[in-house]
Symmetry: D2
Subunit: 307 residues, 4 copies
C-alpha cells in the first residue's frame, strides 16, 4: 500500500504545522517544524494483463496500434528517473522516454497519483514504475536512489522538474514561502544521481528551469530565488561532473505548457512532447559536443515574459 | 551585557547540535535542529569621554587630527545600517559612512566584537552603535529593525554584506552547508528594511555580491547558490521597490579585499575604503538615474576569477 | 569555369589594394578600396557516373557500403544552404545533412575548393551543389539566393558559419581588420534567407557563434565585435521572424573542432559531426518548442575559455 | 572658419552619393562611396570678454552667481574629451565636467553647433573648446586627438556617446543602415584615446551604451548590432588596458533622457546631469576598485524596455 495518511489531513491545520517554529531554551533555541512523513514507496514495473479486466479491450487495441510504430524501433536505453511528474511536461516526458526504450522511473510525493500513467505506459509496451518520494528530504531522496539502483540498475538519465510558485511582493513573502523556493530538491536529486553515476563515468542529469531562472521579475521572488539557485547548481555541476563523464544540462522553459485544461484554441503554448524531445536530444549528445544550457519557447510567444 | 553564552560552547558538540534532525511520528515528522539563542543586544551610541581614562590621550590626539578635515564637511545624513561587519569591507564602510555624517548602526552575531570599531568611530567624532543580531533568524532581524528605528529613526541606507563559504565538490556538500549558502539573511534584512522605508518612500538597500553571483564555478556550490539567489532577490526588489521610492542595488565584488592580514606587497586587492565609496555613490544617486548593478575589482586583476 | 582570376594575384599587392583609401575632392571625399570580383558561380548538382572513370571503383564500393545504412532512412528534406564551408565543421555538416536527405547547397568564396566535397557526397548517394559567393557583398549574396531558389527551390535550412580572426591588442588593430570582424555577411545571408522563406512561413536560419559571442577577451577585438554583433542579429531576427514561422537560432561553439590536422591524441576537441547534429536537432524542433540559443563544447574542456 | 561646405548640399542627392557602389574591372572591383569632407576644425578655448558686448550683462550676472558655489570648489582636473555632444546628455556632461574643473573638449561633426555651449561654459568660468570631427573616419579621429593633445594636453577622460538609430525590420534594413550601426566610431575614438593615455599609464575611457547593448529587440537591428559590438569593445579594452593603468567603463543607459523638448510632466526620464554624475564617479574611482559596467535608469521606469 502506498497511500500517505497525511493526504487526508485538514489543509488549514497542516499549513500551521509546517511553519517553522522556535523554542528558546536558555542559550540554545530549538528550531522545528512538522512535515508529512513521506516514506519512499515502490510501485514496481508491471505489464498489465488485458485478460484481467483491468482495462477495456477496445481502449487497449487503440493504444496498441497507436504505439506500434514506435515499439518497432524501441532500443534498450536503460533507466531514466523523472523527479516531479506533473500532468503536462512530466507525463509527456515519461511517454517519450518509454517509447524510446527507457525503463522509466517516476517519483512524486504521492506515487498513487502516478498509477494511471504507469498503466498507460505499460499498455503501450513500455516499462514504468512509480515511487513516492519527498524530494526536499535528504533521507527520502537517498532512499529513492538506493531503491531505484537496486530494483532497476544505475540510472542513465535523471530529470528534475519540480516547480512551485507562490506569487507575492517581497515585503509580503513569508519565510516558509521563501524557503519553499530554494529548491533543496534539485541539489538532493542531482547529488544522489551523481553519486550513482560517477562509478560508471556515464549519465545525464537535466535540471528544468524557467524564465525566472534568468530574470527576477516583480512578484516572483519565491520562484526566482530558487530558480537562480538551481542555475548556479547546474553551472557548478557541469564544471565538476563533465570532466568525470556526467553530462549536466539546464533547460530553460520560457513558455506555458499545454495540459488537459488548456483550451484548444490557445496556441501560445509549448506541447510538452516537444520539450521532452529537447531533453532526449541532450541525453543523446555524444560527449565531444555537449550543451550546458538551452532555452525553449513556442514560436508565437514573446521572449522572457513568463514565470 | 551583550555576551552570548553560547560563545563558550564546545565547538564539536555545537556542530552536532546544529544539524537538522528528523523524528517520525506516524504520519508526521518533526524536523528540528538547535541554534544558538542570539538575542538582539544594544550597544547604544556614546561619545567617549577622554577624561574618563577610557582611552590614551596621545592616541586620541592622533585620531582627532587625522579626522579633522573630514569632520568639517560632515553633514546630517541619517541612519545607515550595516548587517555583517567583517574586518575588511565592513569596518571600512562603517568609517566611510560615519565620516560622511551617517549615524552608523552595526549588526553582527556578536556585538561585543564591534566595540572597538564603535569606539574608534566615536573618537573620530562620528556616531555609531552596535547590535547583536542573527541575520538568519526572522525574529532576530525583525527585532533589530524595530530597535534601530526606535533608537535612531528609520534607516536611510541598509547594506547587507554577510558572506560565508565552505568549498567542496557537489557530491560531498552536506545539506547543512548547502542551506547555509542560501542567504535567507539577505531576504530577511531586505524585507525588514523595505518595510521600514516604504512609509517614507525613501531609502537605499545595497546587497553585496561576489563573482559567484554571476558564475557557478567548480567547488563553489555553497557560495554560488546563495549568491545567485541573492541576485534574484536584488532584481525582484528593484522592480518592486524602485517605483515606490526605494533604491535597491547589487554590488558585485570581483576582488579580494585587503585587511590587516594582507601582505603589503600583494597589490592585487581592493582597498575596502574604495568599495565603500561605490556604496556611498549608489546611495547618493538622485532617483532620476539609479544604478541596479555594478561590478568592482582592482585594475590589475583578471576578470571573473574570484569566489 | 569557375576559377577566380584574382587567386593568382600577388598577396602583398593585394593587401595594399584592399585597404580603404580616401580622396578629398573639395567638400566631398571619395572613399574606396579594391576587392576581388567574386561572381556567383554554379557547380550544379550531379550524380557522378562510376563508369566514367572519374573515381576509383574500389573507393566507390567502400564509400557506398559505408553509407548504405544512412541511405535506407533517407527522406526528402528539401534544400539546405551552408554559407562558409570550412574543412572541419562545414564538411561534417554537409555530410550530415546530405545523409539525412537534404539537397545540400554549399557556398564559399571559391567554389572550386568544394568540388571534392560535392563529389564525395554525390558518391554516397546524396545531392550537393557548390556555388562561389562573397558573403560580404550584397549583390553576391542576393545573386546566390536567387540562383539557389531557381535551381533547387526555396531553402528550408540556412546555416551561416563563416569565422575569421586576426588577433591583436586594440591599440594595434587596423580599421580594415576591425571591419573584417563586423560580420556583414551574417546580416546579408540571414536577410536574403528570410526574404526567401517568409512567403512560405517556414524555414530555419542558424547562425554559428563562438566563445567570443559571449565574452570580449583580451586580444580578441576583431572576433568579439563581430560575434557580439551577430548575437544581436540573432536576437532581433528571432523576435521578428519566429512569429512569422521562421526559426532563427544561435549556436555558440565554445570548443576547438577537430579536422585533418588535429593530432589523434588531442582529445579536448569537438567532433564536427556531433555539432552538425545539434544544428539538425534545432531544425527538427516543432514550432511549439523552439530553442533560440544553445552552447556546445566537449566534456573535457574548461568553460568559456576559447576564441 | 569652421563651416562645412557640404552642409548646404541637397539632402536627397547626398543620400544617393553616400551609398556604397561597386565597379567591376575584370578580376577586381572598385568599391566606393562619397563622404562629406569633415576637416577637423578648432574652436579654441576662450574666456569671453563681457565688455566686448558679446553677451548681455544681466544674463552674465545671473550665470555667474548661479555658478559661484561650484567655482569655489573647482580643482584642476585636466582635459576631458566628449565625442558626440547631443542636446541632452552631451550638454549636461560638458557642464558637469567643466563645473568640476575639467578643461572640456567637445567634438561633433559640426563644431559650429557647439558654439553656444562653449560660450555658456566659458561664461560660468569654465574652460571649453569645440572641434569638428567625423568619428567614423580614421584620419579625422587621429587628427582630433593630435590637435587636442597639442592644444590642451593628454586627455584624462574621454567619453564616447554617439548614438544613431534607424528602426526597421531586418528584412527591410539596407546595408548602409546596417553599417551605420556598427559604431566604428567607438573603436576609433577608444583606440586614439588609449594611444595618447598609455605613455602616462593613466586615464579613463567611458563608452555609453543603451538597452540595445544588452538585448536585441524587434525592430532594433541597426542599433543593437552596433551596441552589442561596442560592449564587446568595452570588454576587450578593459581586459587589455586596466592592467596598463587605463580605466575603461561601459555605462548602459536604460532610459529616455530629458532635453528641451521633454514635456515637464513626463516624469519617466533621466535627468542628463544625473547620468553625467555617474560618469564622473567612474572617473574618480581609485584603481583598487574600478567598475567595468553599470546600468542607469529612472526609479519609475520598467527595466530593459528602452532602445
Amino acid at each position: 500500500m502506498h497511500r500517505n495518511v497525511s493526504d487526508s489531513f485538514p489543509r488549514t491545520i497542516w499549513s500551521m504545522m509546517k511553519t517553522w517554529r522556535k523554542l528558546t531554551l536558555g542559550p540554545l533555541s530549538l528550531v522545528y517544524k512538522f512535515e508529512r512523513s513521506v516514506s519512499v514507496t515502490r510501485n514496481k514495473t508491471r505489464r498489465l494483463n488485458p485478460e484481467s479486466g483491468e482495462i477495456d479491450a477496445h481502449a487497449l487495441e487503440a493504444i496498441k496500434s497507436e504505439s506500434a510504430q514506435g515499439s518497432s524501433l524501441r532500443r534498450e536505453r536503460g533507466v531514466a528517473v523523472i523527479v516531479g511528474v506533473g500532468p503536462g511536461f512530466g507525463h509527456a516526458l515519461a511517454h517519450r522516454l518509454a517509447d524510446d526504450g527507457f525503463e522509466v522511473v517516476l517519483a512524486s510525493r504521492n506515487a498513487v497519483r502516478l498509477d494511471a500513467l504507469v498503466k498507460e505506459i505499460t499498455l503501450r509496451g513500455g516499462k514504468a514504475a512509480a515511487y513516492g518520494c519527498d524530494a526536499t528530504m535528504e533521507t527520502s531522496v537517498k532512499a529513492l536512489f538506493s531503491l531505484v539502483t537496486a530494483d532497476h540498475g544505475v540510472p542513465r538519465l535523471v530529470v528534475y522538474s519540480i516547480q512551485s510558485f507562490g506569487p507575492g511582493a517581497v515585503v509580503d513573502v513569508e519565510v516558509a514561502a521563501f524557503e519553499d523556493g530554494l529548491k533543496l530538491g534539485s541539489f538532493l536529486v542531482a547529488r544522489s544521481a551523481a553519486r550513482e553515476m560517477l562509478p560508471r563515468s556515464e549519465g545525464t542529469i537535466v535540471l528544468v528551469g524557467s524564465t525566472s531562472s534568468m530574470i527576477g521579475r516583480s512578484g516572483h521572488l519565491n520562484l526566482a530565488v530558487g530558480k537562480f539557485g538551481q542555475r548556479a547548481l547546474a553551472q557548478v555541476l557541469a564544471r565538476e561532473l563533465w570532466p568525470r563523464g556526467i553530462h549536466v544540462a539546464h533547460v530553460v522553459i520560457d513558455a506555458d505548457i499545454t495540459d488537459d485544461q488548456t483550451p484548444i484554441d490557445d496556441l501560445a503554448h509549448s506541447d510538452p512532447a516537444h520539450i521532452a524531445q529537447v531533453v532526449l536530444n541532450l541525453h543523446e549528445q555524444p560527449r565531444s559536443a555537449w550543451t550546458s544550457e538551452a532555452d525553449v519557447r513556442p514560436w508565437n510567444e514573446r521572449f522572457w515574459e513568463h514565470c
